[in-house]
């Protein structure tokens, strides 16, 4: 009798019973999501202020077609190149007997710490043919392929090699195994990395400005800085938002299939693939990669510094710029990591279709030009907070945190999903409060991931340019803005030391990151962007 009642209830007649979700977690996540939505809300408000007709008129210009063509072809080409370079280098590092693989594992990640504007400066100041589309492809590929490398390497490390062995025993060739098994297993990671790459390219400004290549983001910046034309800038930004939504939907559709691993979490024993006679050529390629991505920008900066002579270096401004850069970046990294924590906990521990979709949509922020985020924050402070905080360190830090929140989320999410939920459950059953469980179990377990998130955001802030240019407190210079000022005046000798210090500061967290991901045991990072379907 009870049973019949219960079954009726289970069939959906009664409201579904749920374990209550911790209210604090939901509340903090809601605050974070609200903050993250500010830029988009700003764009929509501006657009509705300007009126649909105006926005339509602004978008429906021949200029838009040119920008669209430029942006799309660059995004497509760079994404494909990054997918190839990132995947192949990850395969060589993780799966072959490449000599010195632990050294390479770190060296191939460090280019991510190279500010794009320094890379493009390095290449274009040495080679005059590096400009326009060709230049943009070369520079962006070197600067962002680590975004594919990191997740794919993690997935190769965690994937089941048993399938490859079986395929080989069934008579498949080495290339056949690579395409039919290995790539298929890493597909989601590759797609996830490609998504990050496309979004980052959409938001890139400094490099394209130096190379003289016009995309939506450079156009938005010049329309704003020349004519303070906010509605035009916003209209173009909406196009970026639409493109990135399209990219994300495309990625979601392609990534629908999931790889599964049979058997329980036994660490797979694997024999690395022997490179044999390919060893020397592949070592050559790796050296070329590191030379192009690291050697050229560093080399050119050193070259220009010596050209400029020792008197070009002003120790005081360099020191103070480095101090403020580190200060703001550390503040933003801390804030972004703290913001990512509740969201990651909520989406990993209490996954629903909605939380996943919401988390995924935060990745739109990666594609937002820094300028838009800066404008959004200034707008809200001006309109609703009596200009509170405008051009203060706090606002710059908030802007950074919003821009790079998705990167922090990637790191925190990876390690939260890595920390076994059973430990938290056991802790709870021992009568310990939720906050205590967080402090005594979860945080110690995920601290490496928090550190990784911190590093990821820190180095991104150090190399950030556009939002900094707008929001920097009066009278303060960071390394990036000072470099930019000298570079715009063609004072390469004076710009170079700033580039070198940026690289130096950003390389430390990049090195730590390379080490962290090299040791991450399982497939935690293999899907950097949560999939709605999954």
């Amino acid at each position: 009798m009870t049973t019949t009642e219960s079954r009726v209830e289970a069939l959906g007649w009664a409201p579904r019973r749920r374990r209550p979700r911790p209210r604090a977690l939901v509340l903090f996540s809601a605050i974070v999501i609200a903050a993250l939505s500010l830029p988009l809300v700003f764009l929509l408000l501006e657009a509705s202020d300007a009126g649909a007709a105006t926005v339509w008129h602004l978008i429906w210009r021949s200029l838009t077609a040119t920008l669209l063509w430029n942006t799309v072809r660059l995004t497509v080409v760079v994404t494909i190149l990054c997918a190839i370079i990132g995947t192949l280098s990850a395969y060589c590092v993780e799966r072959t007997d490449l000599p010195g693989r632990h050294v390479w594992a770190v060296l191939v990640v460090i280019p991510f710490a190279m500010p794009d504007f320094v890379v493009s400066f390095g290449w274009s100041s040495l080679f005059s043919w590096i400009s326009g589309f060709r230049g943009a492809v070369v520079v962006m590929t070197w600067a962002v392929y680590p975004l594919v490398y990191l997740p794919v390497a993690a997935s190769f490390r965690g994937a089941d090699t048993g399938q490859e062995e079986i395929a080989r025993s069934l008579g498949a060739s080495r290339l056949g195994v690579f395409f039919r098994i290995t790539l298929a297993q890493a597909r989601r990671s590759i797609l996830g990395g490609c998504l990050l790459v496309s979004l980052v390219i959409l938001a890139e400004y400094g490099a394209f400005e130096i190379l003289g290549y016009r995309t939506f983001t450079t156009e938005i910046f010049s329309e704003f800085s020349v004519g303070f034309d906010t509605s035009s800038a916003c209209a173009l930004s909406l196009v970026i938002v639409i493109i990135s939504i399209a990219v994300m939907i495309g990625e979601g559709a392609m990534g629908g299939a999931r790889t599964s691993r049979s058997g329980r979490g036994v660490a797979p024993v694997r024999t690395p693939v022997t490179l044999g006679r390919w060893r020397i050529p592949i070592l050559g390629l790796f050296s070329a990669l590191v030379l192009a991505a690291l050697g050229v920008p560093i080399g050119s900066a050193v070259y220009w510094m010596f050209q400029g002579g020792a008197d070009a270096i002003s120790g005081v401004s360099l020191g103070s710029a480095a101090f403020y850069t580190a200060l703001y970046s550390a503040g933003a990294a801390l804030l972004a990591t703290l913001m990512a924590l509740p969201v990651a906990l909520l989406v990993v521990r209490y996954p629903t279709k909605w939380t996943r979709a919401l988390t995924r949509s935060t990745f739109l922020l990666l594609a937002m030009p820094g300028l838009v985020i800066a404008l959004a924050l200034s707008y809200f402070s001006e309109q609703h907070a009596d200009s509170f905080g405008y051009q203060t360190a706090a606002m710059l830090i908030l802007a950074y945190a919003l821009m790079f929140f998705p990167l922090a989320l990637v790191g925190v999410r990876a390690s939260v999903s890595q920390a076994p939920i059973t430990l938290e459950e056991v802790a709870g059953s021992l009568g310990v409060s939720r906050r205590q469980v967080l402090r005594r179990v979860t945080l110690p377990l995920i601290s490496p991931g928090l550190a990784a998130a911190f590093c990821l955001v820190f180095l991104s802030c150090v190399t950030e340019l556009t939002a900094t240019l707008i929001l920097i407190p009066t009278g303060v210079q960071t390394l990036a803005t000072q470099f930019w000022a000298y570079q715009q005046n063609l004072s390469y000798g004076q710009a170079a030391p700033f580039a070198l210090v940026i690289i130096l500061i950003a390389a430390v967290p990049a090195y730590l990151l390379g080490r962290f991901f090299d040791r991450l045991p399982h497939r935690a990072l293999a899907a950097p962007v949560p999939n709605v379907v999954a």
Binding site: L423, A427, L430
Partner: protein, 356 residues
């Protein structure tokens, strides 16, 4: 009062119904094994009792108080249930001592309680070690001490011995049972290992198709299984068909008393029954009720199994176990057999009952 009272429990994941109307009562201070094949919902049941999952329907009571039903849900933190997970799941960043003391108040963590518990599980000398420095059995015992530290009313053991090797398993099992009995704690053990379930528990609940198909003391399960399938599961069987005659059953090898007629709903004279005779019930004797031919004998030292054919027309093959293994009958010789004790029977659903 019963410690735990579960009724009508339903739980599904996506479209798969794992538990469908499960009822279970556990008495205070008893040790109950839940026995089921993998995928039968054992762990899900345990997780619902612990409060890690919420049931879709049905109710769970602890000490008569509802902890999970349509309107109430008590969080696992407030249930006072010690949970010992499958792989121990010790906190990797804490020492043995800190693991055991995890659920205690700060002041108690360095007190004598932790030492007593470690003493009890025989690991007092390893207090400062970290989980990765312990063997599997040691980790398991630390997990038990950690669960017992909060003085739980109920301890849940989720296949705690499955990750141990065979030699260690027996000794850890023995230790755990003694520790729990000494502490007087009610315990529920989930396992797919028949020997483990039978040897440890006061009662065994057999989980089938998302329900408890029988919950009884091990000896009762063996002697009076609820269904022929359960009978087969708990030991070797001989099934013979027979016809009900009052509280007796008439078979080819004699007439036997029915031990328990509750397993035969609607029992009437002339009904066809399926009769269970355990091998050790068959006695080879000179004055038996039936005759049989010896087909084969298998000698095991402490006992022997004799394969017999009774009643040549029906080709009825029986297995008899005899502890008197010294002078076994010759193969192909004829012997007399009788059946010791009463028998258990069910309605024979394989054939039409009205034929006789």
């Amino acid at each position: 009062m019963s410690e735990l009272d579960i009724s009508g429990l339903v739980k599904s994941f996506r479209t798969q119904e794992v538990l469908c109307g499960l009822d279970l009562v556990v008495e205070e201070g008893s040790f109950v094994s839940i026995l089921g094949p993998s995928g039968s919902g054992k762990t899900t049941l345990l997780r619902i009792i612990a409060g890690f999952e919420r049931a879709d329907a049905g109710s769970v009571r602890l000490h008569g108080e509802i902890v999970d039903d349509a309107t109430h849900f008590v969080d696992s933190r407030k249930r006072r249930i010690g949970y010992v997970p499958q792989d121990g799941n010790l906190f990797p960043h804490l020492s043995v001592k800190m693991n055991v003391g995890f659920g205690l108040r700060k002041a108690e963590r360095n007190g004598t309680r932790v030492n007593e518990l470690l003493e009890m599980v025989g690991l007092a000398n390893l207090a400062e070690r970290y989980p990765h420095q312990l063997s599997g059995g040691q980790q398991q015992r630390v997990a038990l001490a950690r669960g017992l530290a909060i003085n739980p009313d109920l301890v849940l053991l989720d296949e705690p011995f499955s990750s141990l090797d065979a030699g260690l398993r027996a000794s850890v099992r023995h230790d755990v049972r003694h520790i729990l009995k000494d502490a007087g704690t009610t315990a529920i053990l989930v396992t797919h290992d028949l020997d483990e379930a039978l040897s440890l528990a006061d009662k065994v609940a057999v989980l089938r198709d998302g329900r408890v198909s029988q919950c009884d003391a091990p000896a009762t399960l063996y002697a009076r299984p609820a269904t022929p399938a359960l009978a087969r599961e708990f030991g070797n069987v001989n099934f013979v068909t027979g016809v009900a005659r009052g509280l007796e059953v008439d078979t080819d090898i004699g007439r036997f008393a029915l031990e328990d007629v509750s397993s035969i709903p609607g029992l009437r004279d002339g009904a066809r029954l399926l009769v269970l005779i355990r091998p050790e019930q068959i006695v080879l004797s000179s004055n038996g009720s039936a005759r049989a031919r010896v087909l084969d004998t298998e000698f095991y030292g402490h006992d022997a199994v004799v394969k017999l054919r009774a009643n040549a027309q029906r080709e009825l093959t029986l297995h008899a176990r005899t502890s008197h293994a010294i002078d076994l009958p010759e193969r192909d010789s004829d012997v007399a057999i009788s059946v010791r004790g009463g028998v258990v029977a069910w309605n024979d659903e394989s054939s039409d009952t009205d034929q006789v």
